[in-house]
Structures are given as structure tokens and as C-alpha cells.
Symmetry: C2
Subunit: 129 residues, 2 copies
């Protein structure tokens, strides 16, 4: 289950993932199909999800989308996710702090400070509508 050995394949998958804000299995496989098998890509991404390094969600296109979560331990970090194009913008701003304190205090809910997702429409997609 746990990956113990370092291999060329694991490195390639990780490197490729880090090149994307947001990706699908297919996009990674497309880039690496000559070097890494599909199964291994699934296995590596599963491992990253278990480690909390990658998150997974279903886009408007009904496909599994993944994002690499930069290790970021700021208290004031959050994501703006566009519901239309799936693009994710990282924002660091202390405007999140009041909210964070309120939730921890009043709702007995342990905030995952690196995984606050604000859904909506980005600049580009807003204009298209």
C-alpha cells in the first residue's frame, strides 16, 4: 500500500501534477503515456489524496478533477473555484480570519484552514455569460 521505493514513474507523475493548478487523470496520462501506465497514475494520485496533498471533485463536465494542494500553513489562505471552468485561484488574505474564528468558536467545527473553497464564477466566465 505505502510507496517505499522511489521510481522514475512516481517522480514523473508528481512533477506533472505540480505543473497544473487543476487536472484530470486523462490530462496527466496524455502527457506521460509513453513513460507511465494509467494504473500507476491512479495509484500515485490515490496516495497523494490519502496524504492530503491532492483533492478530488466532480466538475460540471461530470469528470473527476483533481488539484494539487500546495503545502501552505497560513491561517489566511483559501481557494476561489470557478464553477464553470474549474479553475482555482489561491488567495492569501486575512479577511478569512474573522470567519475562521467564528466557526471554530461557535460551531464546534474544526476548520481545515487549507481547504476553504469559495465557489463562484471567475472573471472570464462571468464575462461570457
Amino acid at each position: 500500500m505505502s510507496m517505499v521505493y522511489n521510481t522514475k514513474q512516481k517522480d514523473l507523475v508528481l512533477k506533472e501534477i505540480k505543473n497544473h493548478k487543476e487536472f484530470t487523470i486523462n490530462e496527466i496520462h496524455e502527457k506521460l503515456k509513453d513513460e507511465v501506465g494509467l494504473t500507476t497514475i491512479y495509484r500515485k494520485i490515490d496516495e497523494l489524496i490519502k496524504d492530503g496533498k491532492v483533492s478530488k471533485y466532480i466538475g460540471k463536465d461530470n469528470l473527476a478533477h483533481y488539484q494539487y494542494l500546495e503545502q501552505c500553513n497560513l491561517d489566511n489562505h483559501f481557494y476561489l473555484r470557478c464553477e464553470e471552468c474549474g479553475n482555482i485561484e489561491h488567495v492569501d488574505c486575512d479577511c478569512i480570519n474573522a470567519l475562521s474564528e467564528h466557526i471554530t468558536g461557535k460551531h464546534n467545527f474544526s476548520l481545515d484552514k487549507n481547504n476553504i473553497v469559495i465557489n463562484g464564477l471567475c472573471n472570464k466566465c462571468k464575462d461570457k455569460k
Copy 2:
């Protein structure tokens, strides 16, 4: 594509969905399997998703989970989603307002005010760890 006629099946699916904060296709099908076919359940839920009444995400169990979104047009409404059990808590609190204004103003991002999701651990799951 558009649902024009009212049928017993549609009513049953909608009624069952409203009974759950959070559900999977299987849970609904299990309850209604004598009255409504699986295909129809998928179709009705797709319709509700398109209407913005239901949202869909992938849980830790790797299954599609859905939630019925109560029609709520408050500016200060958001969700607390437990990453462990998938449970969703609705919160109304004006602590969201400063954040909302900031995002709209500074990041040229059109907030979906009924779809702000704060991820983390709920009371119960926090204690289990």
C-alpha cells in the same frame, strides 16, 4: 430534456431526496426500488442539479454524494462540510459578509453566495480522532 409532465415517480424521488441532508444514488434507489427505476432516479437528480437544487461531490468513500440545497437566498449563508463523514451543516451568519465583499471587490470573482463550502471536521469525527 425538459420535464413537463408530473408523475408519481418524480414526486417520490423529490420527496425522498428532501428527507436527506446528504445522499447517494444507491440510498435513494434502495428506498424506492419497488416504485422507481434507477434510470429515472438518475434523470430526476440530473434535472435538479441543472436547476441548482442539488449539488454533487465525491466523498472519501469515492462515491458520488449529493445534497439537496434548500432554497436560501441569504447573503450570509454557507456550508460546513465534514471531510470525514460528508455531513453538511448549514450556517447563517453575517461573519461571511466581510469576506464576500472583499472577494467581489478585490478579486473580480463573482461569489456564488449559496455555495460557500468550508471543509473540515465536524464535532463527532473530530472526537473520534
